[in-house]
Amino acid sequence: MAEITYREAIKQALREEMQRDERVFLLGEDIGKFGGTNKVTLGLYEEFGARRVRSTPISEAAIIGATVGAAATGLIPVAEIMYNDFITIAMDQMVNQAAKMRYMFGAKLSLPMTVRIPLGGRRSAAAQHSQCLESWFVHVPGLKVVIPSNPYDAKGLVKSAIRDPNPVIVFENKMLYNTKGEVPEEPYLIPLGKAKVVREGTDVTVVATSDMVAFALKAAETLAAEGTSAEVIDPRSLVPLDIEAIVNSVKKTGRLVVAHEACVTGGVGAEIAAQVGYKAFDYLNAPIERVGAKDSPIPFSPVLEKYILPNDGDIVEAVRRTMM
């Protein structure tokens, strides 16, 4: 099996789906010859041409609007938004249009569309290029939300997102693009709504998303040295959410720590904590801990950003609190 980057894995998914289905096409800012800001689509323009790899003006509302309209009329668009922060310009199209058209039109149409968006900080990109806004979309019925943490999952999840007959947002992570992992060259799918137990353990369940999965695994090593066995679960998609897998793990371990890079207040961790608190109340031996960014805009200076964003140390401390 070839070891390739997260970026390459996503590109493979796009290429395979474009080869498989003529209706699939890409649109987004600078995604053509330039290959996109994060170079995910680099080379696809040469392979598929300007008709199917479409660079757009800097017009996020127009990008998502065209995506919605094309999906409603027989195509399978895959849009790229350059930074998570920029989707704010297209929120009407995401929230009032894409999420609701099928429902409010009496289920008379489907919107098979995917929107790829990189999120996350740790690059000194400051407050308008570093956010993690995935929980906004989890709150809107009608949207699916996918958040791959490694190359293998990225390929299988992006392919499933493209084949899904609903609007799916794939939150990629800027810090993961260069990370490598084993990815089969042949096509495979990972269904949305299936969590993965990344590391088995018995004392505490750590649910982590995106690049916090790697931090959670690092934390688990530290904790193992202290005699604490952490089970790490990556939900992989937030809508649909595999809450059963998480609840089953908590029933085994009796403790839960939820970790994401998004700020703690109103984050997905709150939803997971609430559901586990309800469904596994009698199994909990400690209050549920949440790990995330300190509630703040993301600062520019590396020393400040590092302080604001969560890491493996924060997970270790949270786990220790649950063990007290």
């Binding site: 096409f25 008709r51 479409r54 757009t56 003006p57 017009s59 509302a61 127009a62 998502i64 609007g65 065209a66 995506t67 919605v68 309209g69 094309a70 999906a71 409603a72 009329t73 027989g74 195509l75 668009p77 310009i89 009407d92 199209q93 009032n96 249009q97 058209m101 099928r102 429902y103 409010m104 039109f105 009496g106 289920a107 008379k108 149409l109 489907s110 098979p112 019925p141 009608g142 699916k144 084949r163 899904d164 007959p165 609903n166 949305l192």
Partner: protein, 324 residues
Amino acid sequence: MAMDRSTQLWLYEMMFRIRRFEEWVIDLFARGKIPGFLHSYLGEESVATGACAHLRKDDYIISTHRGHGHILAKGARTDLAMAELFGKRTGYCNGKGGSMHIADPDIGILGANGIVGAGIVIANGAGLSAQYRGTDQVCVCFFGDGASNQGTFHEGLNLASVWKLPVVFVCENNAYAMSTQPREGLSVQDVSVRAAAYGIPGVTVNGNDVLAVYEAAGVAIENARAGKGPALVEAKTYRIRGHYEGDPQTYRTREEVDEWRTRCPILCYRASLLESGVSEDELKSIDARVEAELLEAVEFADKSPLPDVSEARHGIFTEVAEVA
């Protein structure tokens, strides 16, 4: 533009159908049969009718919150539309959408829209889809003078021009954006001049003259169909009713409204038809047919069952299994 007799009469019948539909729903709303908001198209029938007269079943339209006229002119059934306004299960959207969200993708109606200007960018997606699939379908996008101040108007017209999409933007300048007049809210008094900024043709016509709309929209639609790109047609008309039923209309005088009533598009067109040799009897038989149709539509809506709450959450997502 030469017009055969059946088209002449079709224009009359459609305007009359829309008028009577609106008069019925205004009355039914006042009597409490129709819940929610109601934005009446009364007095603007000539715009939807003149534009949609050129459209095929497989062409697309995007409508607005003031959309009853657009959908009827594109071929929507009065009974299913009426039932939707009543909130009944038999309505176009099974009672999920109501007045602001009627859609019928089977005949190219991609939905009325409750967000001012949102449809402009979605229309591009439909146009792109037609272009991508190599058909000669077009999309006619209706919106108001108020919508031309939204960012989506500017993003949308720019992208349509850059990609030479088969989209005709029909601006219904009905003299009021809710309570705000063009002289208060528009940087230009003719919205059509904004077309120059996007390098596309723009024209302003008397929107109360169905033949003028027919002529201008016809040229634009023919060009779009021939792959010559988008155009902006501004139809200047007048919103006879308030922004919504119940609007106190403190922003205008009764005299102003009465003056516009004398320019009623249907009365004017009727007079010109009689002058051109169409008999009074012929028009009366059309009137009678439409009256009977609407009576049946109201009866259908009134007698139809309400939706069951067990269906309230149906249709949010398309089941993944539904699609192979």
